[in-house]
């Protein structure tokens, strides 16, 4: 059954275009999507996912499983970097361990979106409030990462621009970085519009909804190119980091699935919850870490999150987690 789910996931346009990007690099095609075009798609995807989530959140409200699920999600984004840090300290200094740990505590919106698309092609329902969980899991891990640096790093060299580690700017970076800001902002707009101007919400759908799947596929073509370019860096990073990039998501997925079971989530929401736990950030966190922990080597945390964990998740992770959820969650029978 897992194999058939893997195949069903594999043979969808988003995943196939991701592969096409990887193949372009491997065979040496000069295919590239020049900057800032990928930024257009990443801004679009965040805006659309936030807006659609907001519309749905307005319908579901904050009752029932909503708040417990969100609380559990935030708790995971605090816990994951802590135990990841302990594992990473076996091989890395505190700066790099903290930066990689934060990356895995946070989430990948594109992995989440790909999981939603997977659910839709499987005709499994899920709820809009999961986007709120997504939005709220981006920032806490950034804060934890910086606390870890503060506490565990050797007495730091004085930063030449005080800015680096002042808490104001760290919180700013954590909560107001463009990706979190746009996602949360669009979510709030979705909620407001759904409540007060449903007719105008309708008019947004051709842009935010109909186009979404194609735009995701196009963006994943670029992600495939970028991820494959990272493969060289990875070889240098060594087997410990590669193993971590596969095993930590699997471990987080199991923890996540158990929590989802405890929360009695539906299979659809369960899968999304697991994917949030298992995914690693390569948008918000790297930008924040490079700003606030310049001592860490970006090629380590970007390559592991984008070069290994992301492809692993969208290719085999999502169907695997689905099978796990189907086993563990009662509603899935």
């Amino acid at each position: 059954m897992e194999t058939s789910l893997v195949l069903q996931n594999l043979l969808t346009p988003p995943v196939l275009f991701f592969f096409l990007g990887v193949i372009a690099v491997v065979v040496g095609s000069d295919l590239e999507i020049p900057a800032p075009l990928p930024k257009l798609f990443s801004l679009y995807l965040l805006l659309a996912i936030g807006f659609k989530g907001g519309l749905e959140l307005a319908h579901s409200g904050l009752g029932g499983q909503v708040l417990p699920t969100i609380a559990a999600a935030v708790a995971m984004s605090l816990a994951v970097p802590l135990y990841s840090f302990l594992a990473l300290k076996l091989k890395f200094d505190s700066f790099n361990a903290a930066a990689i740990a934060a990356t895995y505590g946070s989430i990948s919106a594109v992995t989440f979106i790909t999981a939603q698309s997977f659910l839709e092609t499987q005709k499994i329902t899920y709820d809009g409030f999961m986007v709120a969980a997504l939005a709220l899991m981006e920032s806490p891990a950034i804060i934890v990462g910086l606390l870890l640096v503060k506490l565990a790093a050797p007495q730091q060299q004085q930063r030449p621009d005080a800015k680096g580690m002042r808490w104001g700017s760290v919180l700013n970076e954590a909560f107001l970085n463009s990706s979190v800001f746009l996602l949360v902002g669009s979510l709030v707009i979705g909620v407001l519009v759904s409540a007060y101007s449903p007719a105008s919400a309708e008019k947004m759908l051709p842009f935010t909804d109909k186009l979404f799947y194609g735009a995701l596929s196009f963006f994943l073509l670029d992600m495939g190119i970028v991820a494959a370019q990272r493969l060289n860096d990875l070889r240098r990073a060594g087997t410990f980091l590669i193993a971590f990039s596969v095993l930590m998501p699997l471990f987080n997925a199991v923890v996540g699935a158990l929590i989802a079971r405890g929360l009695q989530l539906s299979p659809g929401n369960g899968l999304l919850f697991v994917v949030l736990c298992a995914s690693a950030s390569y948008i918000a966190v790297p930008a924040a870490m490079r700003m606030t922990v310049p001592e860490a080597n970006p090629s380590l945390y970007i390559s592991s999150a984008l070069g290994v964990t992301f492809p692993f998740n969208i290719i085999v992770g999502i169907p695997l987690y689905m099978a796990l959820v189907n086993k563990l969650l009662p509603a899935a029978g």
Partner: protein, 93 residues
């Protein structure tokens, strides 16, 4: 007069511009989207979508008298974060 060329990560651009203003330079020009290689490895535009950015090239034409203050403000940034700064002669056309 002098011409100063700075090449550094876009990330530190704001700090560097503050230092240039503080040094009393009469002006500066900035080119973004610069890629390259240096002691800290290669920099490309591939992660541009994530807000990571690439390098910036800053040019400052100024009197020699400003150099000392510029150095004071900028050198610590380059030492800590990476990047290069060079000075050459330049005369008004």
């Amino acid at each position: 007069m002098k011409r100063v060329d700075l090449i550094l990560s876009e990330r530190e651009l704001d700090s560097v511009i503050k230092a240039i203003d503080a040094a009393g330079a009469p002006g500066y020009s900035v080119m973004k989207h610069v890629t390259g290689k240096g002691p800290h490895g290669s920099v490309s535009e591939a992660m541009d979508f994530s807000g990571l950015g690439a390098n910036a090239h800053v040019i400052i034409f100024c009197e020699a008298s400003i150099l000392a203050k510029l150095r004071e403000g900028i050198q610590p940034l380059l030492d800590y974060y990476g990047g290069v700064a060079y000075v050459s002669e330049a005369e008004p056309l």
